[in-house]
């Protein structure tokens, strides 16, 4: 498998990692609010960097922005970077967003106790009172990951107690919450969708888990089509509908292994807890098939059928919005009216179709290729 390169290990100064340009005396309210907690948490990160012997930086081009990941030590590197490896770029001193990542177990640095109460945990892991216009906070009660973003400084913090307890699915879509918060402020919306196509144009595959998004996207690896994600991507509406890749991960149910013989090698190296989907990283095996993005020509809603042939049928924009909006919004902390309005505008710009999936996998990709030849 390909190894990740472009690792930059050096000691960073506090100001490099946390370039506060507007340091000021905090008011009483700020001392106990989200800004104060962000500051305390970041101080823990700086101590973790020192304890780990330095910071390790990785840089990525995502959606037209330069993202810098700054790790305290190497423990979390393989957990985070593999899904982003297709977007990796060279060091850049002018990153748009810096994300600081660490765990307490490997660095020996604890973080302060949460200043909020149990009642402040909301339904999607948001923390009541700990997000405002500038600072967002999320604690995932399932994975134990704490995420914070300060939009004024374009710095995010990503912490968990013990990297050895990192949930394997998180390695396929790490930093999802932070990416979403930040991109939505830059006129891009994360969507729960797969994306496949060509450099000239592609399509989103939308719908609930189990509807055939992932398997359809993976089928395209054995065709002329490019792959930009099987579960998440960013979209924008201006100047034209466009999709950006985020992760190069893929997932496949054990029951489908036999239908995808070309995935034999990735599946050999896949992580797969008993009974769960196998998770693998396609940049390691299909680097030429990875796309950073393309114009969106259509939204496809897959439907699994028992017929051998695949059919594509026009459907309504509301069907498209129904398949796209709820499953996107309810997995993203803080997503609400703005995301819904964005997605409504998006589906009005892009025609929608039902993709009635045939059992013949090659027929699925032929149907998509033919569609894009006509509509691309």
């Amino acid at each position: 498998m390909a190894q990740h390169s472009k690792v930059l290990r050096r000691k960073l100064t506090d100001m490099e990692i946390f370039p506060l340009t507007e340091r000021k005396v905090a008011t009483r309210e700020e001392k106990s609010g989200p800004e104060a907690f962000f500051g305390k948490l970041h101080s823990s990160f700086l101590r973790a960097v020192k304890a780990a012997g330095g910071a390790i930086e990785h840089f990525y081009d995502m959606g037209g922005f330069k993202i810098r990941l700054c790790f305290a030590g190497s423990t979390m590197l393989p957990l985070i970077t593999r899904a982003l490896s297709h977007l990796e770029s060279g060091p850049d001193p002018c990153s748009h967003l810096t994300i600081c990542l660490w765990d307490s177990r490997s660095t020996g640095i604890d973080i302060p106790p949460p200043p909020w109460s149990q009642d402040d945990y909301l339904k999607r892991g948001e923390i009541g009172g700990y997000y405002d216009e500038h600072i967002y906070t999320h604690y995932d009660l399932y994975t134990g990951i704490l995420s914070m973003l300060d939009l004024r400084q374009n710095i995010a913090l990503y912490w968990l107690s013990d990297a050895k307890e990192f949930f394997y699915f998180e390695t396929g879509a790490p930093l999802l919450t932070i990416f979403n918060w930040w991109m939505e402020r830059h006129e891009k919306q994360m969507v729960h969708a797969a994306a496949v196509g060509t450099a000239a144009g592609g399509l989103l595959l939308v719908g609930k888990s189990g509807s055939g998004k992932s398997s359809t996207a993976l089928a395209c690896l054995d065709s002329k089509l490019l792959y930009a994600g099987d579960d998440h991507c960013f979209v924008e509406t201006k100047p034209k509908p466009y999709a950006y890749s985020i992760f190069c991960s893929g997932k496949l149910s054990p029951k489908d292994f036999g239908r995808f013989p070309f995935l034999h090698e990735p599946l050999r190296y896949a992580k797969q807890p008993y009974g769960e989907k196998a998770l693998f990283f396609l940049q390691d095996f299909f680097p030429q098939k990875m796309a950073k993005g393309f114009p969106v020509k259509a939204i496809f809603i897959p439907r699994i059928t028992t017929r051998p042939e695949t059919q594509i049928k026009k459907t309504s924009a509301v069907a498209s919005l129904t398949a796209l909006a709820p499953s996107t919004i309810f997995q993203l902390p803080h997503a609400g009216h703005e995301a819904f309005t964005f997605l409504s505008a998006f589906v009005k710009q892009v025609p929608a179709y039902t993709l009635e999936l045939g059992t013949d996998v090659s027929g699925v990709t032929r149907a998509i290729e033919n569609f894009l030849l006509v509509h691309g």
Partner: protein, 151 residues
């Protein structure tokens, strides 16, 4: 009596179909044809007689059946937390928007009235922590399920 759409409700009408999402509990809904027209009238602040009149100008059908359907659908929407009776109604009249707009009728003819139903979807509830109460460890952070590197 008219209604207001609740704050936690996101909604959109496109090409005569409506999608309504309750951002609070994860439920979402669809309405087609008459139901989408009714939702449009609710959004514009029409009262119940105006909603019935607006539908009667677009659809051919038994007036009593139409009234019963409207009242039932409004009751369903209220029960689902989508709308609330507007206590501050100012008695505005909306006669100007009751008449069908251009393209709303097919060849100038009314469509046959079909009793609207609120199609409800609950599959997103599983994505929300409906009861995010939890135990905490000695540091104050919530206990989470344990995963190992091999998982």
């Amino acid at each position: 009596m008219n209604f207001i759409i609740n704050k936690n409700i996101a909604h959109e009408i496109i090409d005569g179909e409506a999608i309504i999402v309750n951002l609070e509990n994860g439920n979402y809904y669809s309405l087609d044809k008459t139901g989408a027209d009714l939702w449009n009238f609710v959004e514009k602040g029409l009262d119940v007689p105006e909603i019935i009149e607006g539908l009667a100008q677009r659809y051919e059908g038994n007036r009593t059946e139409m009234e019963n359907s409207v009242r039932q659908l409004l009751a369903d929407m209220e029960k689902e937390g989508l709308i609330t009776i507007n206590q501050e109604t100012k008695g505005e009249k909306h006669r100007g928007i009751l008449a069908p707009g251009e393209g709303e009728l097919k060849n100038g003819k009314k469509l046959l009235f079909e009793s609207p139903t609120l199609q409800k979807y609950t599959d997103m509830q599983a994505m929300l922590w409906l009861d995010p109460i939890h135990e905490v460890d000695e540091t104050g952070w919530p206990n989470t399920p344990k995963f190992s590197e091999e998982n």
